[in-house]
């Protein structure tokens, strides 16, 4: 295609990026080795080659998303290993990572997504909105401004990704496989859009990685890559000329080293012999699937005879995968029936699964098992006879050429081999039907041809029925019959040749695009009147002044993260409700439940005396509110048994002759056994018993000796301060509030970062000018706000619902709470810098908040009495100080002046935690 005006223009001499001896490794796996490359500026540069050869790694180095390990990467005239240069150039580069909408936020609307990027680049509101308006209008997304990004089709997601990338007028646009998994029509529209945009900003350079060779033909300059190395560079015509081929697919194969080319030949599938007694393998009748009010699959019917290769085409989100899931029984159809070999699909029918092999779109084998282990696991799960398993695995390994990687982990293998492994696994039990969901997405041409050769053999030799979905037109052309799906409906279903003829088109692609255009009722591009566009572009070019990027701290960038996080929180009301209502419930349960005022202790007496005076002694204990008397103890065995099973907390033994001895003033001993299994309780019991014993003695002495005994008599008056009723709720609620205010905010803060890491949107942080501190504080603010709301709810409930009086100064408490929740969220953010998986993050957070806050922060045992490492943790843990402040203001009627000392550690904790978090957070991957 020579639509691009610069296709023939001379490539400018100044490179936009210069790579020298660049190498990159992920652990032991080498991704790039000895790359030397000068990428010309102002051109449209294509990186071609199969997946897993290092295209994405190269792009992430150029964009600054990944740290340079080896060699030198210069982009826009500076070294990318230099943080200052990165900060300066970041606003001039736009990077759109691989994967549909990977850097988008699915719960945010189209408009909000673009707006977030605008803020990240520090644009003012007016400017931002004008630019967003422009971009959405040009990409045809304007009517969908309010739709959540997660609900867009694949093509629309990529257009939105492009809008997000273009919001700041980059000088260098980096696109990593922007059209993988996108239907032909959207693909064409996408490239038209890029041409269009390059048409007005003549200086912009574009680097694109792609697996579609037919797309690569339109680029100005190509870099062919394989196995972490550059095979060749040059214009497409150069490459064709050099290899003496007519298309890039063939050229690429020709460029491959000899040993990789060996055995490659074009796939030709012999025509299928129609049998007279054709049995139908797969049959769908009026299949319909609705999710809520959204119809994913609408009245789809087809019949596929045994041994046929049936192709399924359509954009992402058009219902292909849903249809396949209904066929496999993964999803029960809302309406209609699916039949395999004439039997209706029943999710509970284990037998039918033995006859079906399914390969899902994403690689869904276990990345923690080796190739051999994966094959073995599946062989066992399909109940192959034990003795035949090794032979079958070997057969599969040979057939799919996996012999040399049997002990490797799938993650270390290129996508092409992983896809072969998936197919081997799907085939291990020799099924009669294979259902393959985009099996070759992202696989290089050679591997794809090999893959289709296998499919051809299976279909023609073994009469396996194959139901396959694909985005590649040359693959579609290999199928016996194909169906084109759009928006849940089948548009056409016939042989490839018949479809081309029906539309009187030249190629299958053209035929499909014409079907799609008809179905979606729009022309190729949502063209604007040129005059209007020019005006808009003029404004766009002139008004933009890049804000000073050297700014260490920019409020607008920070608020970009704040606002986005807040929106996400708002879109997930369950999370906010759990955080707020759940904590109120917890405060009640815990505050009400923890009771250190030990009551209702069970005790029993072994009374060997059984006189008035011994019974009087027992009665004294039984009469107190602390003890509940149980049946008397009969003997030592009884005593032992009942203490051992926990029935008795206290056993009293009164010796024979007790009454007589007391009366005569002879020495006598009463024995008491306390259950020491729970030391706190035992101590309290001991205190009670001793107190009661002393009381009883004084009382008796007075009875026996009269007034003489009052000499030496004194009273101890105990005043329980701050909590005169010694009510647990009063004591506990002020301590439970700090507990809840550290756990929940910390958990939310940790997950907000680790989730971005796990799901990939962290890339936006890597490649935009936002600084580490802006990122952390920006993320923190919504959770601080949520935690403060939580604090107000908890305090309100404590005062008005549980009747715990707040005797001190509320502003003091609120100020402390603010500092405390900032510290709690900062702690969460600090933890998040260590964690890469959400499971470890959840476990880690539970471990570092629950235990110190409950055990070392003075909630139950005062800090002064702790020892060892626990005491140390207690002294530095913020909860300790907030517990003091909370108890001070709730129970002790204190104000700021009295508690100032406890504010100091909180004031120190905030900058220390945030500082550490900022230091440990990395601005680049790797």
């Amino acid at each position: 295609m020579s639509g691009s005006p610069r296709a023939s223009a001379a490539v400018p001499a100044v490179p936009i990026a210069r790579l020298e001896a660049v190498g990159l490794a992920y652990g032991k796996v080498t991704a790039l080795a000895g790359i030397n490359l000068h990428i010309p500026s102002g051109a449209m540069v294509g990186l071609i080659g199969p997946d897993g050869v290092g295209k994405s790694s190269l792009l992430s180095l150029i964009s600054g998303a990944h740290a340079v390990q080896q060699g030198r990467v210069e982009v826009l005239g500076g070294d990318m290993a230099d943080a200052d240069h990165r900060r300066r150039t970041c606003p001039r580069i736009a990077y759109m990572p691989q994967g549909l909408g990977k850097n988008l936020y699915p719960t945010l609307s189209v408009f909000e997504n673009v707006e977030f990027f605008g803020r990240l680049f520090g644009q003012e509101r007016q400017e931002r909105e004008r630019r967003i308006g422009d971009l959405l209008a040009r990409t045809g997304l304007a009517p969908f401004g309010d739709r959540p990004a997660g609900k867009l089709s694949g093509g629309m997601k990529q257009k939105l990704g492009l809008c997000c990338s273009l919001i700041h007028d980059p000088d260098l646009l980096i696109l990593d496989e922007p059209t993988t998994g996108v239907d032909p029509l959207s693909r064409r529209q996408f490239w038209e859009l890029i041409d269009d945009i390059r048409g007005d900003t003549s200086t912009m350079s574009v680097i694109v990685a792609t697996a579609y060779m037919e797309e690569a033909e339109r680029f100005d300059w190509l870099v062919a890559m394989d196995d972490g190395r550059v095979l060749a560079t040059g214009t497409p015509t150069d490459l064709l000329a050099r290899t003496a081929t007519t298309n890039l697919d063939a050229a690429f194969v020709a460029l491959l080293p000899e040993e990789k080319r060996r055995g490659h030949h074009e796939v030709v599938i012999p025509p299928r012999l129609a049998c007279a007694d054709e049995d139908i393998a797969i049959e769908a009748e009026h299949l319909t699937m609705r999710f809520g009010d959204f119809t994913a699959v609408d009245n789809v019917s087809f019949r596929i005879p045994r041994g046929e290769i049936f192709g399924f085409l359509g954009s992402n989100g058009c219902g292909k995968t849903t249809t396949m899931k209904m066929l496999t029984g993964l999803l029960p159809a809302t309406e209609g029936t699916a039949k395999l070999f004439g039997r209706e699909v029943d999710p509970n029918d284990i037998k039918i699964r033995q006859r079906v092999g399914y390969m899902s779109q994403a690689f869904s084998l276990y990345s923690e098992l080796t190739v051999q282990q994966n094959l073995e696991l599946h062989a066992r799960l399909f109940n192959l006879p034990m003795e035949s398993v090794p032979a079958r695995i070997e057969e599969m390994a040979r057939r799919f050429d996996l012999m040399h990687v049997m002990d490797a982990l799938p993650d270390a293998l290129p996508l092409g081999i992983r896809q072969r492994l998936s197919l081997a696994v799907a085939m291990i039990h020799a099924p009669d039907i294979l259902i393959l969901d985009e099996p070759t997405s992202g696989v290089d041409p050679v591997a794809r041809d090999g893959f289709w050769q296998i499919l051809s053999d299976l279909s023609r030799k073994d009469r396996v029925t194959i139901f396959v979905s694909t985005h590649f037109m040359n693959e579609a052309a290999l199928c016996d019959r194909i169906s084109l799906m759009h928006a849940g409906k089948v548009l056409v279903s016939d042989t490839p040749q018949a479809i081309i003829e029906k539309r009187s088109a030249h190629t299958l692609e053209e035929a499909f695009i014409s079907y799609l255009e008809e179905a979606s009722g729009e022309q190729a591009s949502p063209a604007q009147p040129p005059a209007q566009r020019e005006a808009a572009d003029g404004a766009m070019m002139s008004a933009y002044h890049a804000p000073s990027v050297r700014n260490f701290f920019n409020w607008r960038r920070m608020f970009a993260y704040t606002q986005r996080e807040a929106l996400e929180l708002q879109r997930d009301p369950i999370r906010a409700a759990l955080a707020i209502l759940g904590s109120v419930l917890l405060m009640f349960v815990v505050g009400y439940g923890i009771n250190l005022d030990v009551e209702n202790l069970s005790f029993a007496v072994l009374d060997r005396d059984d006189t008035t005076i011994s019974r009087d002694y027992a009665l004294q204990i039984a009469g107190s509110r602390y003890f509940t008397e149980k049946a008397p103890i009969t003997d030592y065995d009884d005593l032992d048994r009942r203490m051992r099973n926990g029935e008795l907390s206290l056993a009293i033994e009164i010796p024979p002759g007790f009454g007589r001895d007391v009366a005569r003033g002879r020495d006598v001993e009463i024995a008491a056994w306390i259950d020491g299994a729970m030391p706190t309780r035992a101590e309290t019991v001991r205190g009670y018993v001793q107190g009661m014993h002393t009381n009883w003695l004084t009382q008796k002495a007075r009875e026996l000796y009269g007034d003489a005994a009052t000499i030496g008599d004194f009273r101890i008056e105990i005043r329980y301060r701050y909590n005169p009723g010694i009510e647990s709720l009063v004591a506990m609620v002020p301590a439970v509030i700090p507990l809840l205010l550290i756990q929940i905010p910390a958990m939310l803060a940790v997950l907000s970062v680790v989730r971005e890491k796990e799901l990939g949107s962290i890339i936006n942080f890597y490649v935009t000018p936002v600084t580490r501190l802006e990122f952390l504080i920006g993320k923190q603010i919504p959770y601080v706000a949520l935690a403060m709301l939580n604090f107000l709810m908890l305090t309100g409930f404590a005062i008005f619902f549980f009747g715990v009086p707040l005797t001190g100064s509320f502003p003091t408490l609120a100020l402390a709470a603010l500092l405390y929740v900032i510290a709690a969220t900062a702690l969460g953010l600090l933890v998040s810098t260590f964690m890469s998986s959400q499971i470890a993050a959840i476990f880690g957070t539970a471990l570092i908040t629950l235990i110190p806050a409950v055990q070392y922060s003075g909630m139950i045992d005062p800090i002064s009495s702790l020892q060892g490492a626990g005491a140390f943790i207690g002294h530095i843990y913020p909860t300790t100080y907030f517990v003091t402040i909370s108890r001070g203001t709730f129970s002790k009627a204190l104000g700021f002046g009295d508690l100032a000392a406890s504010f100091i550690p909180l004031l120190i904790a905030v900058p220390v935690l945030l500082g550490l978090g900022t230091m440990l957070l990395r601005k680049q991957a790797g």
């Binding site: 815990v590 099973n645 010694i726 939310l748």
Partner: protein
Amino acid sequence: MHITNTLQLGIKELRGLARDPMLIVLIVYAFTLSIYTAATAMPETLNNAAIAVVDEDQSPASSRILTAFYPPYFAIPKVISQYEMDRRMDAGLDTFAVNIPPNFQRDLLAGRAPTIQLNVDATRMSQAFSGGGYVQSIVSDEVSEFMYRYRGASALPVDLVLRSRFNQELDKGWFGAVTNVISSITMLSIILTGAALIREREHGTIEHLLVMPVTPAEIMLAKIWSMGLVVLVASAFAFVVVVQGVLGVPIQGSLTLFLSGTALHLFSMTCMGIFLATIAGTMPQFGLLLMLVLLPLQVLSGAVTPRESMPQIIQDVMLVAPDTHFVILAQSILFRGAGFDVVWPQFLALLVIGIVFFTFALHRFRRFLR
């Protein structure tokens, strides 16, 4: 139902765990250092309680009382003025403040029954009660001894001999060690099954399993046995090496019996983990749900404060939680040396709760997979 499927899938779970180094570090930490720290941090009995004395009498009797408080139970008492007392207590510096009135000794000897005031910071409930009792009996002892010097015995010669069974020294470290093993078991068993299940769904591997001839029950059982085994091994290690070995806590009963109880407990906890995962849609929701469940499990199961002092309704509600029964079982076997004849009701309770959770979880799990 195929035993081999369950076995194979369980082995897969174990291999997966072996490849998450951060998680393994956390597991090791939770069952060694975390327990050690917690056990050694726990004060032995009443330890270093902060006490201050306001001595307005300045007599031999009052100084006798003053010198009676010494470590380890009490910190060396601070002698302070009346005015300072309120301020210090407000700032949380002292837990106890003893106020000896002017002319205490004179009044005491004159039989005028003077009053010593003992101020207790009741917000520190754990020390308030036991410590209050100690202060009271120390002061009484000192006063009566003082009186004895003056005029010989007058009180009744009845002595109370107190003995603590099962933990003579009332070493809180023993209790703390066991409590922390229990809370690590609880935390880990829920997270390993629940969070791992959500991750499998997010990564699409669960779906892959369902197109194979494997039933949801097999998938669930595989997770239960494999993750349960990990936690069981970790807790056996924690008990034998950390609790018995390093911390030197004597274990009274049969470890085998206790570990069988642990296995049963793990069965119900892992089912609970799966159940929670099926309720929570996403990882953040699961994280919150986890906090909401773990906290009550930890503080209300009887592992921190005695169950019998909780309000009846809490006691009843907490009977549903496996932790409650496990704590009773652990204390009975480990400290009191109880045999199966004593703890069988707890075994039964754990089994029943486990089966109920399993049924619930299985029911939800089938829908969760859809």
